[in-house]
């Protein structure tokens, strides 16, 4: 008897929970096109992340100038294309901004001549001579 009552109570409770939206007319949030920018934003982030890795690859000497130049122009174009593909009202993307800052930092470090022009070794900031090959630093590479 207890079991029957328990079963009925369980069934009634579950049914009420599941049917409540239909009875009250309450709905789940509908799709409002709220993620329409996401694909463009994601593409931009992917391209920027690849650019960031590319900068590091150049800094670590994995890529030489020629390989770097070819890939860099491709990736920059993709990042720009993605930005262009999104509507003008695309919200600010902090992730992309962070990546851009990181890329800028690496580029600046390389510009300031921390990377040796001869052996591509990246030196500590303030260094005047390459700690690996001894060549003078300073020229943009």
């Amino acid at each position: 008897m207890m079991a029957v009552a328990g079963g009925i109570a369980l069934a009634a409770g579950v049914l009420l929970f599941v049917l409540e939206p239909l009875l009250s007319g309450r709905g789940a949030p509908a799709y409002g096109g709220d993620d329409r920018h996401d694909e463009a934003a994601a593409r931009r982030r992917v391209a920027l992340a690849a650019l960031r890795d590319l900068e590091y690859d150049r800094a670590t000497g994995k890529l030489d100038a020629e390989d770097y130049a070819a890939l860099e122009s491709d990736l920059s174009r993709e990042a720009l294309d993605a930005l262009g593909a999104a509507a003008a009202d695309m919200p600010e993307d902090p992730a992309a901004a962070a990546l851009e800052r990181e890329i800028a930092a690496v580029r600046q470090a390389l510009r300031e001549g921390l990377q040796c022009g001869s052996c591509r070794h990246v030196n500590a900031s303030g260094a005047r001579f390459c700690s690996r090959c001894g060549d003078p630093l300073g020229a943009a590479s």
Partner: protein, 680 residues
């Protein structure tokens, strides 16, 4: 409690069917009340299935032997935690447990996306509820209801298979099931993407962490299974290419391929059809694994053989899902076109592609080997099993190429790698590989597969260590941070990449551990108490094992009818070069209720090798207490377990949410895409 659980199982089916219909209808008509009702059904199912599972556990703990399932998988003598584990000890309970986990993951997916990705969600919940409905139909109508009564109450149950009475039994199956069921979520998103026609890489970004989570559990589940086999099956191995082992390996192979190929879709917009096929195939293989493990269709050392009817139902389901997905993919082919093409054969994309072909190739070889006995029986009337030699011949070379690709992938450039790029990055790692090969040849190693494994491993490890070293150094120089902080930030800003490298390092260790099997040493000898046996390991260590004495115990011997097992325990002292290393207690056990005996091996682990002692036979008649011991020294086996731990750690790094640990970094914040993609 048990009755309530049974009732809950019956209520669950109509709720699941209701939710399926309403979710799809809501998605089609745009009526949000129908969608919400469908999502409520997912939550309700989790609750109902938790009740059903609790009901089964309560029946085990309450020794309710009027239930066929409880009587078949336990007895009064069984330890409490094995009674709790009774939930997944056999086919019926396993199915309930599987369904519970799936509904749990469905609820988490629905809850986490209650406000975002709404475009996908009606079809996601619809797909997940459809799978749940199928499982509930099986549970209730395919003669596998765990609440089926015997019609009488036996005084005691039949007990649990001795091989399952091991603590790994409480860990290994749930871990695997978590991996199997978690993969249903990416599959549901893929189906939803096909139905809605939103076929950019959005569904992948949304489910990326589900995919990694599933992979994490699958990998751990397989390694736990290997450890179980190693400790419990007592033959000194960890993998036998047994059908059930293969069944768990298959979805892992395709899931691993998928983890790699989605990166090409995200980076280059390529391989969309291929990724759809992989996600469907992996899901189908998780279902296939479940039914193969629990159907007894193919004989196996696991052979928990049971009910063939259920096998045909599962096969029908697999066929239906495959058919529907194939139709959907073909229908959406125009939207699945690649956005770019491979520019050069020598590039990271092509390394990834090659990796995928190898994984899928190995998967096909394993499917063929697993189903071969069925095929020969069907066509020639005779079951012919293929054994480890078949699998090794196919998979060892493929595995070695995969191993080498792990060293190529990280340093080869995307799109097009120049010769300069290759020379620059591969000179040192290749030199390391050649040096190791040369050293081993000089030491007299002539086993080509093992030699190649060690050499390629050195190559890959050098690549990985160099990547970490160079990356950290460049970062430290540019940002002015200290070494450790740079390393943490390096990993934190691109967890997937660096976590992946950690996984690769772990896999390298596992491979070297597997290659160690080429140098196993084994001696079998009958000893009387006081006598010793000497073994010389591949590393040149001289071990001496002395059989000291034999003891007999009858745990819980107070009441004659309450004995789970009788144990004969040998005391064995292990010495190396005269120094006493350990005392082992290998056992023979006899389970009177089951009329079965089993072996508990003795294992002494060092950093480089295991001493593994199997008491093959105990002479009880003469009273001389002579024991036949098989002593094995297994080099590098511990590395498999260390490697497994490193793999798990790397996978955790990869799937850890951004914004936890090193602060909200690259993908932190509430960016629409990033937040949803990272945290769905």
């Amino acid at each position: 409690m048990t009755t309530l659980g049974e009732v809950a199982l019956w209520i669950a089916l109509p709720i699941a069917l209701w939710g399926t219909v309403l979710s799809f209808a809501g998605g089609r008509t745009g009526r949000t009340d129908l969608v919400l009702s469908g999502e409520r059904a997912a939550y309700a199912l989790t609750f109902l299935l938790a009740l059903a599972s609790a009901g089964i556990v309560a029946a085990f703990l309450g020794e309710r032997y009027e239930f066929w399932y409880v009587a078949s998988y336990s007895n009064r003598e069984l330890d409490t935690y094995f009674k709790v584990a009774g939930l997944w000890a056999g086919q019926r309970g396993s199915l309930v447990f599987w369904t519970l986990l799936l509904s749990g993951f469905a609820s988490i997916a629905v809850f986490r996306n209650r406000r975002r990705n709404r475009e996908f969600m009606p079809y996601v919940s619809g797909t997940l509820l459809a799978i749940l409905s199928f499982l509930l139909v099986v549970l209730l109508f395919a003669e596998v209801n765990p609440f089926e009564r015997l019609g009488f109450t036996p005084a005691n149950g039949r007990g649990l298979n001795p091989q399952l009475q091991n603590y790994w039994m409480t860990i290994h199956p749930p871990t695997l099931y978590l991996g199997f069921t978690a993969f249903a979520v990416p599959f549901a998103f893929a189906v939803s993407a096909l139905l809605t026609g939103r076929l950019d890489s959005r569904w992948i970004a949304v489910t990326r962490r589900w995919i990694l989570l599933s992979w994490f559990f699958l990998t751990n589940g397989i390694i736990f299974g290997m450890r179980w086999a190693y400790e419990e099956l007592g033959w000194g191995g960890y993998w036998f290419w047994d059908p059930v082992e293969n069944a768990s390996l298959l979805p892992w192979l395709t899931a691993t391929a998928f983890v790699h190929s989605i990166q090409i879709q995200e980076n280059r917009g390529m391989l969309k059809v291929w990724n759809m096929c992989l996600v469907v195939a992996t899901f189908l293989l998780t279902i296939f694994a479940t039914f193969l493990t629990r159907s007894g269709l193919i004989e196996s050392v696991h052979s928990f053989a049971e009910n063939l009817k259920i096998a045909y139902i599962f096969l029908g389901f697999l066929g239906a899902v495959a058919g529907i997905c194939a139709v959907l993919i073909i229908y959406r082919l125009p939207l699945l076109k690649g956005e770019s093409a491979i520019q050069s054969f020598v590039s990271r994309e092509s390394a990834f592609l090659f990796n995928n072909l190898l994984f899928v190739g190995i998967a096909f070889a394993v499917v063929w080997g697993t189903l071969y006995p069925l095929i020969t029986e069907g066509f020639f009337g005779q079951k012919i099993n293929v054994g480890p030699p078949y699998y090794n011949r196919v998979n060892v070379p493929a595995g070695l190429i995969l191993l080498a690709l792990m060293g190529v992938g990280p340093v080869i450039a995307w799109r097009r790698a120049s010769k300069r790029n290759l020379r620059k990055n591969f000179a040192l790692p290749v030199a390391a590989g050649i040096a190791v090969a040369g050293a081993l040849l000089a030491l007299g190693v002539r086993h080509w597969a093992a030699l190649s494994t060690f050499a390629i491993s050195a190559f890959v490890l050098t690549v990985i260590v160099a990547e970490f070293w160079k990356g950290t150094r460049a970062r430290a120089r540019i940002s002015g941070e200290g070494r450790w902080k740079s390393l943490l930030n390096l990993v934190g800003r691109n967890r997937r990449r660096w976590g992946g490298y950690v996984v690769h390092a772990g896999v390298v260790l596992v491979f070297t551990g597997l290659a160690g099997a080429a140098f196993d040493v084994a001696v079998t000898q009958e000893l009387a108490p006081g006598e010793s046996v000497a073994v010389r390991s591949a590393f040149g260590h001289e071990y001496s094992l002395t059989y000291e004495s034999l003891s007999h115990s009858r745990p819980r011997a107070s009441a004659a009818n309450r004995e789970n097992d009788w144990r004969w325990t040998a005391l064995v002292t292990v010495r190396r070069g005269g120094e006493r290393l350990a005392v082992m207690r290998p056992e023979r056990r006899f389970y009177p209720v089951m009329d079965q005996s089993s072996t508990e091996v003795g294992i002494h682990s060092t950093a480089f090798e295991d001493v593994y002692v199997i008491p093959r036979d105990v002479d009880l008649e003469s009273g001389a207490e002579r024991v036949v011991f098989e002593v094995k020294v297994l080099p590098l086996v511990p590395w498999i377990w260390y490697g497994g731990m490193i793999v798990a750690a790397g996978a955790l790094v990869s799937l850890w949410p951004a914004g936890v640990g090193s602060g909200r970094t690259a993908a932190g914040g509430r960016v629409p895409g990033a937040a949803a993609g990272q945290a769905a």
